[in-house]
Amino acid sequence: MSRYAPSQSNLVWHVYVLNGSQISRHGVVSFAEVHFYFIKVFGDGPRAFALISLYSPPNEHILRSTSDTLVVCRHQHERELTVIDVKSILSVIAMAPFPFLIDGHGNQYFMIEKMGLGVIKADALEDNE
C-alpha cells in the first residue's frame, strides 16, 4: 500500500469529536475514493468498513516546491482496492483533475480540503431554507 508519513510533509492534523474534546491521531495519511460501505458482525457487535481505491502518494517534488500546498496524486483505479475501518476516515475532500502530465503520466488529480473545517458548521436552521 502506498503511503507517506505526515511528519515529513507537514500534513499533521488533529481530529475532533463533536463534544469539543480532542483526540490527536498520528498515523499515515492517504487519499482514497470510496466504492461503498458495509457492516460485518463480530462477537462484540457490528463494525463498519469501507471498500476504497487509494490514490497514489502525492508527487513529492511538486509538494515540496509549493510549500506543501499542491497535492497531486494519480488515480490507480482497481489496482489499489483495499478495505479500511470507517473510523479512519478523517474528512471529505475534493480530488479535481489536474490537466498536466507528471513524469509522462496522465490521470492526475489535485487535492482540495475544506477551509476552516468544523469551525462554522452548517446551521440546522439554515438548511431548511
Binding site: S30, F36, F38, A48, I89, A94, M115, I120, E129
Partner: protein, 739 residues
C-alpha cells in the same frame, strides 16, 4: 455618558423588577395546551407571513373546535412577555446623521443637517402637541436575553462551557506561563487567560463580543442598513455561532450611512455598562441557584469603515492606518494624501518630506499597546488649536476618544478592536492580487506601457483559466459550500467572500499552476500555506510559528518582487498586505481568528434577509423580524423542547464516535467481484477474530456521516446519477494508524 448609565434609568419599574429578580423557572412549557400550540406555531412559522399563522389557526379550529389558538397579535405579545425580551425604539435623524440619544436626547433638530426630528405636518396641525418621530432605530438590550440562557438546565449547561474549558486549560498550563500547544478556541488566547489569571473574569461572568456590519437587504442601495449583534463566548464554539445563540443587538435603518455611529450604539452600550457595574441577576437552572453575572465586553468586531468610527482612528489611508492601531508609519506618494504601509523606502524618497524614514525591519514591527494609545489620545485631546489638533492627529493616527473608553470591563483599548479574517486576507487581498494579475485599472501605475511580468490573466489565458475553475466546481464536495463561479466572467460582479476563499486558498495552487510565472506562483503558494493554517479549527504552536514566518517573508517578498522600490508602485502595498503580519500574533492572543471574524455577522445578515416579507418598507420589517428572532431565541433557550433538533435519519446506523452510516442500502446480498473479494480477503486475514466473516457477499451502504459533519458518499451511488452538474462527495482523507 456611557460610564454614568444606570439600569434604573433604562427600564420602567416592572421591567426592572423582572431584571433584578429572575424567577425560578419550571422547565415544563406553559401548561395551557392552546397557548403552547400557539407559541409552537409562532416559532415554526418564522419567515412565513402572518397569514400563514392565521390560516393554521383557522384550520385548527375547524377540526378541533375546542382549541382556541391565540391571534397573531396576542401570541406575539405572549412571546414577548414569556421571553422577557425588551425592545427599545429611539428617534434618529431622518438623514441618518445621528440618534437622539445621550447628549442629543433633547434636541428637536439634527445639529448636523438641520432636519427636523418630528413630522412637521403633525407638529403644525396640533400646535406642537403631537410629536411623531420621522425615523426610529431599534435596540435589543442584551440583559434579558442573557437571563433567558440560564433558565433551562440544558442551556445553562451550555453557558458553563467557558468556565469548564477555562479550568481544563489552567490545569493543562499548570504553573508555567508557557503558551498552550494547541489553539482551538478564543479561550486559548493569551488575552482571555490573562484576564482569568488576574481575576477580572470569573465563573458566572458573561463574556461578550460585539459585531457590527453594514448590510444590503436587496439589490438596491436604498435598502442599506446597519446591524449589530452580541456573541456569547460562554457557549462552546460548536454552538456559539448558531442563530439561536446569537443575541440581536440593534438595527440602524439606512439608506444613509450613520455618521455618528456612537450615538446609535449608545443605548445598547449604556445598558451593558450598567450591567458591568451593577451586575446581571440570573437564575442558574443547572446548579439551581441565584447568581450575579458581571458582563465583560471582550472584543469589538466590525468592517474597516465602522471600525475606524468606533476606535476613533483616522482610517486606513492615514499615516498610521493599521486598524489594530499598531502605529506602523506609512509612506505617501510625492503629491498623494493616501499613505501605504510600505516597509521598504522607494527609490528617490531620501528627501521626501513625510516618507523619508529608512527601511523598516520586518522582525521589529511595532505592536499595539494600551500605554502608547493612552499617551497619544491624551496628546490629541489636549490640543489647543485646530492646527495643533490636525498635526497631532496626523502623527498619532487617532482623532477622537472612542465610545468604548467609557466601559469599565473591556480589554484595554486599542486591544479590544479585532482584525477581520474575512475582509482583509480574503476579500481585500484577493482584490489586490487580481488587480495585479489581471492588470486592472485599480493597480495600474503611471507608465501605462511598462510590461508587468505577473500580469498574465488577460485575453485567452484568463478565459481558459476561468473555464478551468468552473470545471473544477463539480469536483468540490457539497460540504464545501458555494463553489467558485467562473472568475473571468464573474469576479467583478459580486464574487462572494466564500467563493474567494475556496477559489484562492482552496483551489489556488492547483488552478494557477503553469499560469503564473514561477517566481510569482511559488510566492503565492507560501501565502496559501500560511492562510490555510490560520483558518484551521485547531492550530498547533509549531504550525502557528510556521505561518508567522511564512507571512512575514511573504510581505517582504511582495514588496521586493512586485514593487521593486518603484515609487509609482507604492499603492500596491495596501493595508491588507500589512494586516498579514498581525495574523499569527493575533491568533496567539485571541485563538483561531475565524472565531472572532465577521463570517458570523455575514450569516446573520443572510438569515435575517431571508425572513423579510415586505420590500416596500424593509427597515420596519427587518426590525419586526429581528424582534421575533430575539423572542424565539429566548423562548427556545428557556424551553428547548419548543424546537426539537432533528434526530438521526430513518434507517441509519449509529457507529459511535459521531460516525453514522446512512442509506441507501442494498436490499439483498451483493455478490462481490473477484477483485473486491481479494481486497476483503487480504484485509480480514490480518484482522482479529475474523475467521468466520463472510468474504463473498455484503450489504452495501451508500453514505457515511463523519465527525466533521460532512457526509461522504460512494462511487456505487454517485455513478448512478446522470447529472453532469452533480458534485463529488466520495473522495476522503484517510488516516491509518502508524505501523
Amino acid at each position: 455618558m456611557v460610564k454614568e448609565a444606570t439600569l434604573k434609568s433604562q427600564f420602567d419599574a416592572e421591567e426592572l423588577a423582572e431584571l433584578l429578580e429572575p424567577q425560578e423557572h419550571t422547565s415544563t412549557p406553559p401548561d395551557d395546551p392552546s397557548l403552547k400550540l400557539s407559541l409552537l406555531n409562532y416559532i415554526s412559522f418564522m419567515g412565513c407571513s402572518q397569514h400563514a399563522y392565521e390560516a393554521a389557526r383557522k384550520n385548527t379550529r375547524q377540526c378541533y373546535p375546542d382549541i382556541e389558538l391565540l391571534s397573531y397579535y396576542r401570541v406575539a405579545r405572549q412571546a414577548r412577555l414569556l421571553s422577557g425580551v425588551i425592545t427599545w425604539e429611539h428617534h434618529m435623524c431622518f438623514k441618518g446623521c445621528l440618534g437622539f440619544t445621550g447628549p442629543f436626547a433633547d434636541l428637536e433638530q439634527c445639529p448636523d443637517c438641520g432636519q427636523s426630528r418630528y413630522e412637521e405636518k403633525d407638529l403644525e396641525d396640533s400646535d406642537g402637541e403631537r410629536k411623531v418621530p420621522r425615523k426610529v432605530f431599534t435596540t435589543f438590550p442584551p440583559g434579558p436575553q442573557i437571563q433567558a440562557k440560564w433558565k433551562h438546565l440544558d442551556t445553562a449547561e451550555d453557558m458553563f462551557y467557558r468556565w469548564k474549558k477555562t479550568e481544563d486549560l489552567r490545569r493543562e498550563r499548570g504553573q508555567s506561563d508557557d503558551p498552550l500547544n494547541i489553539y482551538d478556541d478564543i479561550l486559548c488566547g493569551k488575552a482571555y487567560l490573562d484576564l482569568v489569571d488576574d481575576g477580572s473574569i470569573t465563573e458566572y461572568d458573561t463574556v461578550l463580543m460585539l459585531s457590527i456590519d453594514g448590510a444590503q437587504l436587496h439589490e438596491h442601495k436604498e435598502s442599506n442598513c446597519w446591524i449589530y449583534i452580541w456573541i456569547l463566548v460562554d457557549i462552546g464554539p460548536d454552538k456559539r455561532y448558531k442563530i439561536r445563540n446569537i443575541l440581536p443587538g440593534g438595527i440602524i435603518p439606512g439608506p444613509y450611512a450613520p455618521k455618528d455611529l456612537d450615538s446609535f450604539l449608545f443605548p445598547g452600550l449604556a445598558h451593558v455598562s450598567a450591567l458591568q457595574r451593577e451586575g446581571l441577576h440570573i437564575w442558574d437552572a443547572y446548579h439551581r441557584r441565584r447568581a450575579i453575572s458581571l458582563l465583560y465586553l471582550f472584543l469589538v468586531l466590525a468592517d474597516a469603515v465602522a471600525m475606524a468610527q468606533l476606535s476613533g482612528s483616522v482610517g486606513h489611508h492615514g499615516r498610521k492606518g493599521c486598524r489594530l492601531l499598531c502605529g506602523l508609519l506609512g509612506r505617501n506618494k510625492i503629491h498623494g494624501a493616501h499613505y501605504y504601509p510600505a516597509l521598504l523606502r522607494p527609490n528617490g524618497f531620501e528627501t521626501h518630506r513625510t516618507s523619508s524614514h529608512p527601511d523598516i525591519d520586518i522582525n521589529s514591527l511595532p505592536i499595539p499597546t494600551p500605554q502608547g494609545y493612552k499617551t497619544d489620545l491624551f496628546h490629541i485631546i489636549s490640543s489647543r488649536t485646530e492646527t495643533e489638533y490636525k498635526r497631532r492627529r496626523f502623527n498619532a493616527g487617532i482623532g477622537k476618544p472612542s465610545i468604548f473608553a467609557g466601559m469599565s470591563r473591556i480589554l484595554p483599548l486599542p486591544t479590544c478592536f479585532a482584525g477581520d479574517l474575512m475582509h482583509q486576507p480574503v476579500l481585500n487581498l484577493a482584490c489586490l492580487l487580481f488587480d495585479l494579475w489581471c492588470a486592472r485599472p485599480g493597480a495600474r501605475d503611471h507608465n501605462r506601457f511598462t510590461v508587468w511580468p505577473w500580469a498574465v490573466l488577460t485575453g485567452d489565458v484568463w478565459k481558459r483559466h476561468g473555464e478551468f475553475v468552473s470545471r473544477v466546481a463539480r469536483y468540490l464536495p457539497t460540504s464545501f459550500g458555494r463553489t467558485p463561479r467562473n472568475p473571468q466572467e464573474k469576479i467583478s460582479s459580486g464574487y462572494k467572500a466564500w467563493e474567494f476563499l475556496n477559489y484562492i486558498y482552496g483551489e489556488g495552487p492547483g488552478v494557477f499552476y503553469g499560469v503564473l510565472p514561477d517566481v510569482y506562483y511559488f510566492h503565492f503558494c507560501r501565502l496559501v500555506r500560511a492562510i490555510r493554517i490560520i483558518h484551521q479549527h485547531s492550530i498547533s504552536r509549531e504550525q502557528l510559528a510556521t505561518a508567522h514566518e511564512l507571512l512575514l517573508q511573504w510581505v517582504l517578498d511582495f514588496e521586493i518582487i512586485y514593487c521593486d522600490r518603484n515609487p509609482d508602485r507604492l499603492h500596491f502595498v495596501r493595508q491588507c498586505v500589512h494586516s498579514l503580519t498581525h495574523l499569527a500574533r493575533e491568533t496567539h492572543r485571541l485563538g483561531p481568528l475565524w472565531l472572532s471574524s465577521q463570517w458570523t455577522m455575514e450569516r446573520v445578515i443572510g438569515y435575517l434577509g431571508s425572513l423579510l416579507r415586505q420590500p416596500s418598507n424593509p427597515f420596519r420589517n427587518l426590525a419586526a423580524q429581528t424582534k421575533r428572532v430575539a423572542h424565539t431565541n429566548a423562548l427556545v433557550a428557556m424551553w428547548p423542547d419548543f424546537e426539537r433538533t432533528k434526530g438521526d435519519p430513518h434507517g441509519s446506523e449509529d457507529l459511535g464516535n459521531s460516525y453514522l452510516l446512512l442509506g441507501p442500502k442494498d436490499t439483498s446480498h451483493h455478490q462481490l467481484l473477484p477483485i473486491e473479494r481479494e481486497a476483503l480477503n487480504i484485509f480480514f486475514s490480518g484482522y482479529p477474530d475474523a475467521e468466520d466473516i463472510d468474504r463473498q457477499t455484503v450489504y452495501r451502504w451508500g453514505r457515511l456521516r463523519i465527525p466533521t459533519e460532512q457526509v461522504a458518499r460512494s462511487r456505487w451511488k454517485e455513478l448512478e446519477r446522470c447529472s453532469d452538474m452533480a458534485r463529488t462527495d466520495r473522495n476522503v482523507k484517510v488516516c491509518t494508524e502508524s505501523i
